[in-house]
């Protein structure tokens, strides 16, 4: 092809002076595209139906998809006759009523039934054409081949269902694992009251908090409440190790400081590479039936200080010190004694409570904080284990999304 004879071989007509540039040729091609041919051989199906659904006009593309001759359909069949049985019901119960109400409906997935019985997924869009007075005259429908899209959607749907099933399974598994890390039923020392509450921050991850309250052989009771760093399955393994190590150590030697030292050694040996550690308050409780209360020897490894809510309404943090358990070799812990008289309540909690983000926070970082907790405790004192745990549970509820970590609460009171 020469420059002077320059003519697009696909172009529709000759150029007058033989000097047309390619873009002009393309434009004239567009101008000359025959509307009739565009309708007939459009890349989508076109269908016009009377208001009762009878086919009035249909284009060649749709006829070719369906395998019918024009005279087999026009004036003889309705649009719904071209659909599968299920599609026909959908058309009558959803498509037609919505079209009647809105005057248009778009992107509806239906299946056509071709003349030889095959099924062809399509997307259907219809509009009602109104006359000059606004009265509906006919329905114009455009039909797009949706074979590829439908199989993609089906996969999407299957994937969503599979994900929902997995999600449910995971939730159940997490729930079971979580429950296995806590006492099934909280035991209560004779003559005292106890209550506990656990709130997981997430339903699809195992939390790292743990607690227990259990009898020793000589009438004394062991108790602890702790918080393992991290979450999930790895944290759960540490939680299990911490809980059973502490319990075994306490039964073997009822000395909280010794039990924590024991736990520190175990965690350090096992997890120092992974930087897994925990904070925990551990104690030995001795009921004092003559007075009606109890004394508790307590040791702490980096854990928030327990609260004592007194019968006279006053509130005291029980001062503790001791390093985080499992973080350093050879950590040492010290015991200190708390005396609970009748009407007093000892409250152990994890930092999920004090670290919760609170709208009314007075701390610089927006956390609830120990000062606010002391005031709250003062507002409910004097109290008992059950009431205190219920009140703190309610308090946790007020944090809403501000509650970002798991929270455990254990209360022991002397009536």
């Amino acid at each position: 092809m020469t420059a002077t004879g320059g003519r697009d071989p696909h172009g529709p007509g000759p150029s007058d002076d033989g000097s047309a540039r390619p873009s002009e040729v393309g434009f004239s091609a567009l101008l000359e595209d025959d509307p009739e041919d565009l309708y007939e051989n459009a890349p989508c199906g076109h269908l016009s139906t009377r208001l009762d659904g009878t086919i009035a006009k249909i284009n060649g593309t749709l006829l070719a998809w369906l395998g019918y001759r024009r005279e087999e359909l026009v004036g003889r069949r309705r649009f719904s006759d071209l659909l599968t049985g299920g599609g026909r019901i959908y058309h009558e119960t959803h498509f037609a009523p919505m079209l009647a109400m809105r005057g248009e409906i778009g992107g509806v997935a239906l299946d056509l039934r071709t003349k030889d019985g095959a099924r062809m997924p399509v997307l259907v869009t219809s509009v009602v054409k109104a006359g000059s007075e606004g009265q509906p005259q006919l329905i114009r429908t455009a039909i797009f081949d949706a074979t590829m899209r439908r199989s993609y959607e089906r996969e999407l749907l299957n994937a969503r269902r599979a994900a929902e099933r997995e999600d449910e399974r995971l939730r159940q598994l997490v729930g079971k694992l979580q429950r296995s890390l806590l006492p099934a039923v909280l035991q209560t020392p004779p003559g005292l009251e106890s209550a506990a509450y656990y709130r997981a921050a997430s339903t699809d991850e195992v939390g790292g908090d743990f607690y227990d309250l259990f009898p020793l052989e000589d009438g004394r009771w062991g108790f602890f409440l702790g918080d393992v760093s991290g979450k999930g399955v790895e944290a759960a393994a540490v939680t299990a190790l911490a809980r059973y190590t502490l319990r075994a150590a306490t039964v073997y030697n009822p000395d909280p400081a010794a039990a924590l030292r024991n736990l520190n050694t175990v965690l350090w040996q096992e997890y120092r590479q992974d930087a897994r550690y925990c904070t925990v308050v551990s104690g030995i409780l001795t009921p004092t039936p003559t007075v009606g209360g109890f004394t508790a020897v307590i040791a702490s490894g980096g854990h928030p200080e327990p609260l004592l809510l007194k019968a006279d309404g006053s509130v005291h943090y029980h001062p503790t010190k001791g390093r985080i358990v499992g973080a350093f070799p050879n950590s040492r812990y010290t015991n200190a004694t708390v005396v609970a008289n009748p009407g007093d309540t000892l409250l152990l909690y994890s930092d999920g409570l004090t670290e919760a983000r609170s709208a009314t926070s007075e701390t610089a970082d927006g956390r609830y904080g120990t000062a606010a907790l002391a005031r709250f405790a003062h507002s409910i004192a004097p109290t008992n284990a059950t009431t205190a745990v219920a009140a703190v549970t309610e308090l946790l509820g007020t944090f809403g999304a501000g509650l970002t970590d798991d929270t455990a609460i254990l209360a022991i009171s002397a009536p």
């Binding site: 026909r88 019901i89 959908y90 009558e92 037609a96 509806v108 239906l110």
Partner: protein, 268 residues
């Protein structure tokens, strides 16, 4: 009263006329009746409601077990009649609500003065001797069709669909929400509708009954209307010169007229 909210009950028409309960079928909601309400309301107290799981019925009332069978919906119809203290209403049920009306009227025949079954089908699936018009595969096909078309449905639409029951006018919100329901609820209602077989219940109908069918109906063909007519002793069959499964949309005047003359006869 709980049924008001549960079923989004609306009253229209004359306060002192005979009571006509209009029950919508599977797919949409009480607005299916919008073109016949004014006509019937000229002489009747019209009671409209949405089945639980459809329209603006209270989504909190949804119970997948209860609404897995048409008996659950029939219970609701009876409790609407009871709690609103409706006096001997005529129950007009479209499509599957025909079967729901039959179940309710068979359970408490004295409560109703008549039944109008609009394009009824007691059983949609063919068997050896009966032509319902569909196969089990067709129904599975429909259930899948519901899934495909609900891919675009999102729970964020729910407040728009369910909320604000104080706006009765036919606004943007309605045209956007009409026929859109929670996919899980639609699946349950579709199964209850298209997999039920209530043919044996028809013979027990003892209240005056009108069957309204369309000359051309892609869901309930004339043979099915004839079957229902033959099974219910003393029933009347009227075939409307109308197309489609919803004569209250395609031929509202004729539909209202047929209901009106039936009720006139019943109350004469």
């Amino acid at each position: 009263m709980r049924v008001w909210d549960r079923n989004n009950v609306r009253l229209a028409g004359r306060a002192e006329g005979p009571t006509v309960v209009l029950a919508h079928g599977f797919g949409c909601d009480q607005h299916m009746w919008r073109h016949v309400v004014s006509e019937i309301g000229q002489w009747a107290r019209v009671v409209l409601f949405d089945h639980v799981g459809s329209g603006k019925a209270d989504p909190a009332a949804w119970d997948a077990d209860r609404y897995a069978s048409l008996d659950g919906y029939a219970d609701d119809v009876l409790s609407i009649c009871r709690d609103l203290d409706l006096q001997q209403p005529i129950f007009v049920g479209h499509s599957v609500s025909s079967s729901i009306g039959v179940l309710a009227a068979n359970r408490e025949p004295d409560r109703f003065s008549g039944l109008v079954l609009v394009t009824p089908s007691p059983c949609y699936i063919d068997d050896e001797t009966y032509r319902g018009g569909f196969t089990r595969d067709d129904i599975d096909d429909l259930l899948e069709s519901l899934d495909s078309n609900y891919l675009g449905w999102s729970s964020s639409m729910a407040p728009l669909i369910m909320g604000n029951p104080e706006r009765p006018e036919l606004g943007e919100e309605l045209t956007a929400s009409f026929c859109r329901t929670d996919p899980a609820m639609a699946q349950v209602f579709a199964r209850a509708t298209f997999l039920s077989d209530n043919r044996a219940d028809l013979a027990a109908v003892s209240v005056p009954t009108l069957i309204l069918q369309c000359a051309q109906d892609a869901i309930a063909p004339p043979e099915v209307g004839a079957f229902v007519h033959a099974q219910i002793a003393g029933s009347q069959l009227v075939t409307l010169d109308a197309t489609g499964h919803c004569p209250q949309l395609s031929a509202p005047e004729a539909t209202a007229a047929a209901i009106t003359s039936f009720v006139r006869a019943a109350y004469r």
